[in-house]
């Protein structure tokens, strides 16, 4: 079943330059994959909406805020899932989560096709919190089952809602992550920390603080993501292709390497009060310049100081 999208036929260059952040989930999928190759499973016409939102008198979305299906990337088959960060903050509910769980279990059984996870989420959907939390647990398990079967699961993070809460844990289960500067990754969001611990602990209105603590640049520099992309669909596509060819299989050695890199991080940066101190410790001579650095210069700088062994996950 094919469903048409907003299809302004863009010339190749414009298409590659489309902002990942601004694009909808459907546009991201369409522009990321080979033209016309995407096939959706349980698309909007199936109207499998959340059964729980009406309890709260809230509007539903026909796809419950996630698109799952398969297509081709550079000629090879891939599974793909994309969250719509503007609908309920991309949050996980029962149906939303189950679509992703089903896709990952299929990838586990098929074995030969990788999964691209376009994460854009605030975490658990409040109105169906128990179902959402459980869905995230099922997804984490399904990711590890798929990876254990030899499937690569690549997370792509750079959307409006970032990747928060349980979404951050799913990201941590992926084989590899592509992140853009806009791609914030965290468990507790800025507002959650401020509400629970006070504004002295974390001022959620200090946007610079939010970006340098949780944003893509810091995540990539310390090894929280494997590739840094400029905010374009073309850059995300390039990075995903590169990671698909370079990412290692999953096993006990991966976990041991990750244990080492995470312990090493605590030793190196555990006393740093701020991201600026981490970057300075990491060898950046002028850490204050990082937030304003254009992507190409930032990547060049990062390539000099990052160690690839840090990416085991």
């Amino acid at each position: 079943m094919s469903v048409a999208h907003v299809d302004r036929q863009l010339p190749g260059e414009t298409r590659a330059a489309s902002s990942w952040y601004e694009a909808s989930a459907r546009e991201r999928v369409r522009l990321l994959l080979d033209a016309g190759s995407f096939q959706e499973f349980i698309g909007p016409e199936a109207r499998e909406t959340s059964p729980h939102l009406r309890v709260f008198d809230l509007p539903e979305q026909f796809d419950d805020g996630i698109i799952v299906g398969c297509g081709k990337l550079d000629g090879s088959p891939v599974f793909v899932a994309a969250q719509e960060g503007r609908f309920m903050g991309g949050a996980f509910g029962e149906v939303h989560g189950a679509k992703l769980t089903g896709l990952l279990r299929a990838a586990r059984d098929v074995k030969s096709a990788p999964v691209l996870l376009l994460l854009d989420t605030g975490g658990v959907r409040l109105q169906e919190a128990n179902a959402g939390e459980l869905a995230i647990a099922e997804i984490m398990r399904a990711v590890i089952e798929a990876r254990s079967a030899g499937v690569k699961v690549i997370g792509l993070i750079g959307g409006r809602s970032g990747c928060y809460g349980g979404g951050g844990l799913i990201a941590g289960c992926c084989s590899a992550l592509v992140v853009s500067e806009q791609g914030r990754i965290a468990v507790s969001g800025p507002e959650v920390i401020e509400t629970n611990r006070g504004v002295e602990e974390f001022d959620s209105r200090d946007r610079a603080l939010v970006w340098r603590t949780m944003g893509g640049k810091s995540r990539w520099l310390i090894g929280g993501a494997d590739a840094f992309a400029d905010d374009t669909v073309g850059d995300f596509r390039k990075a995903a292709l590169k990671l698909l060819s370079s990412t290692a299989d999953f096993g006990l050695d991966t976990l041991k390497a990750e244990q080492s890199r995470l312990e090493e991080r605590l030793q190196s940066f555990g006393e740093c009060p701020d991201a600026l101190d981490i970057w300075r410790t990491e060898g950046v001579s002028d850490p204050r310049s990082i937030p304003a650095l254009p992507a190409d210069q930032f990547i060049a700088l990062g390539d000099k100081i990052r160690r690839t062994s840090r990416d085991a996950r």
Binding site: S2, A4, H5, D7, R26, P44, E45, R54, P59, F87
Partner: protein, 105 residues
């Protein structure tokens, strides 16, 4: 939430071959429109679920204007609305109708 339904007869069948199309996102001030070619050629149906209650008259006017301009015969429009303004609704309906005019793929 409020449910609204509008059924119109149209002068002609909507051109194109596409069986379905979707546009928009359900968010504050935004809406999604799902279009399906499932109606008789001289009819169109719009089913709306909106978060903004009490605007039936406005919807009626926006829909009537849209039907007159586009004559979307044969199409069913299913709309989830997060409280969009009339101009946004008009824009999305027009985008949805244009998507259906494209060839399939």
């Amino acid at each position: 939430m409020e449910d609204l339904t509008f059924r119109h007869t149209t002068l002609k069948r909507a051109s194109g071959l596409k069986p379905t199309a979707i546009i928009g996102v359900v968010a504050s001030g935004n809406l999604e429109v799902l279009v399906e070619r499932v109606m008789p050629d001289a009819e169109c149906l719009l089913e709306i679920r909106t978060a903004a209650e009490g605007f039936g008259d406005v919807w009626e006017a926006v829909v009537a204007d849209f039907v007159e301009r586009y004559s979307p015969g044969g199409l069913k429009f299913s709309i989830n609305d997060g409280g969009a303004r009339p101009d946004t609704v008009s824009l999305r309906l027009a985008q949805a109708a244009r998507l259906m005019q494209e060839d399939d793929r």
